[in-house]
Amino acid sequence: MDRADLLSLYRQMFLIRRFEEKSAEMYALAKIAGFLHLYIGEEAVAVGAIAAIRPDDYVISAYRDHGHCLARGSDPGKVMAELFGKATGLCKGKGGSMHLVDAERRFMGGYAIVGGHIPLATGLAFAAKYQQHDQVVLCFFGEGAVPSGHAHEAFNLAALWKLPVIFICENNRYGMGTPVERAIALYSNVAETARSYGIMAERVDGMDVLAVRALTQKAVEQVHSGQGPFFIEAMTYRFMGHSMADPAHGHYRTKEEVEEYRKRDPLLLLRQTIVTNRLGTEADLKAIEREVNDVVDAAVRFAEESPFPEPHELYTDVMVEE
């Protein structure tokens, strides 16, 4: 284990955590509106998986997408400005929380029709293969998307044509308020769904960033060897409600359950790894946290001070104009 590496992972995870906490605050202040789905509790999945790929690989996600976008290296100021609906946002304020896109970083978007982006991921992978490039595609979605028709059609095509796509199922146990046991026939082993299409699939502790990265690295190697897609079921948990409209535990789960999962907070686990292995001290971690706090505060300031889009922007970007 390498000190700089682990501290960098910690920084990325803490950035997402802090960014999301700040987003919730800004939502309460009505600076952010619409639907806001926080990634708190699931940081190890995005950070671990994205740490295993190259800058020219593709990443695509669903509507709980801030974490993936930040892990991909997008500017927190531009992400926050997007949530504020400002002209300086990643998407000029036209996408919002659920539709972050950073094409330069090959972050191909957040999509908000459950399962609807999974075929797009197979298409990105198809394009890589068609052009004989060796990129891979990381496609994130919740376990709630797995039973959708879009997912099954995409799994079949990806397996049939051996496309270089890694499906990452973030199994946070609830599709909105419906527990996995009441939504997926193969609830005790969601990865089995992918295996039924002949896709290699493994389950991983989604709270352990190093385990997620290691499995994703293995998946990338398999995909590069031409064996076709890989499916990762990352066991994780959402500490907050489904969206800001949903209290932290709600009627569908108990406070005790949430508290129990919080004991395995992915940031806490990584902190322990760093400290017990003497790769960093509490003071080192505090220093990172202070620096990230400043970054997030600056992001909010940037969003706050940025202008709203000009009225004429309503009509631009509907079509590509030649």
Binding site: Y58, G89, L90, C91, K92, G93, K94, G95, H99, V101, D102, A103, E104, M108, G109, Y111, I113, G116, H117, I118, P119, L120, A121, T122, G123, L124, A125, F126, A127, A128, Y130, Q131, G149, H150, E153, A154, N156, L157, L160, T316, D317, V318, M319, V320, E322
Partner: protein, 327 residues
């Protein structure tokens, strides 16, 4: 020298020329490869371009349309063949929520250059699930272009333009048009998207009709001319963006307008065209616009009932007589 081709052959030529021209273009859909296309539009393609560029898919419209959208986002130029647009309903979420909106949602960072093509409208006695004219659905959605050519020449020129267009284009053909013949310009030519064509000149009444209904309108115009009524027949060819200018110019001359469409009447495309013409040229109209449309029923199987549900020459002639007060 112009060549006489069927509509099917014209489409085949257009795609073949564009695939030769641009290696990013590929064809994907059910039975497009070894079967040569359900309606033989892609005859000879898998032999010329190979299975890497002519992809037979399983019967999963949402899956392969979504795949093509993703490929377009990554810079390829897919042509999706829907065996018929009825099956496109299964891909509607991909088309409406992804293809049409990705450009806008990304603030202009991404684009989706692709064509989704196949036959729409009724053939003969295929019953309710296989006989639908759904163009109005697609025209309703910002972010899509919609084309519905009626002649082999227009089919070739517009399909080539559609393939080169940087936006998602819905290209609606018709089963009953595939075998129709016409003169097609030789060699390399394209027809700009968004340009209507005056298919017959006249001074007494304007008839707007597209796809199969153009042929019905032209037959009606021919019959009417023997009675001394000269109809000007306009084919918008592109339904969105609509070339309102050409239609309005004609209406200013004739003062009367009949719109013929095969789709359902309620919220049909003709309602939009009429609204646009009223807004642009009300003072030039000598009579209310008349729409000749499909009936608001699921398509029946029985031939006499089916015939009653689809506009025909007699109904177009009757509409023209009414709008010119010559009943």
């Amino acid at each position: 020298m112009p060549q006489e081709l069927t509509y099917r052959e014209a489409l085949n030529q257009a795609m073949r020329e564009e695939m030769r021209r641009d290696p990013r273009v590929f064809l994907i859909g059910e039975e497009v490869g070894y079967y040569q296309g359900a309606f033989k539009v892609s005859k000879g393609f898998v032999e010329e371009f190979g299975p890497q560029r002519v992809l037979d898919t399983p019967i999963t419209e949402a899956g392969f349309t979504g795949l093509a959208i993703g490929a377009a986002m990554a810079g390829l130029r897919p042509i999706v063949e829907l065996m018929t647009f009825n099956f496109g309903i299964l891909a509607l979420d991909q088309i409406v929520n992804n293809a049409a909106k990705i450009r806008y949602m990304s603030g202009g960072q991404l684009s989706v250059p692709m064509v989704i093509r196949g036959p729409g409208s009724a053939a003969h006695q295929l019953a309710a699930q296989h006989s639908q004219s759904l163009e109005a659905w697609f025209c309703h959605v910002p972010g899509l272009k919609v084309i519905a050519p009626a002649t082999p020449h227009d089919a070739k020129g517009l399909l080539k333009s559609a393939i080169r267009d940087p936006n998602p284009v819905i290209f609606i053909e018709a089963q009953l048009l595939y075998g129709t013949k016409g003169q097609v310009g030789d060699g390399e030519f394209t027809i700009p998207i968004g340009q209507a064509a005056v298919k017959r000149s006249g001074r007494d009444v304007t008839i707007v009709a597209y796809s199969k209904m153009l042929l019905v309108a032209l037959e009606a115009a021919e019959a009417l001319s023997k009675d001394g009524l000269q109809a000007e027949v306009i084919d918008p060819r592109t339904l969105k963006p609509l070339d309102l200018t050409t239609i309005v110019e004609s209406v200013k001359k004739t003062g009367r307008l009949v719109i013929v469409e095969e789709g359902w009447r309620f919220c049909g495309l003709g309602a939009q065209i009429a609204d646009s013409v009223y807004a642009a040229a009300l003072e030039y109209l000598d009579a209310p616009i008349i729409r000749v449309t499909g009936e608001d029923v699921p398509m029946p199987y029985s031939r006499p009932l089916e015939d009653a549900a689809i506009p025909d020459k007699a109904r177009v002639i009757a509409a023209v007589r009414r709008v010119t007060y010559r009943t």
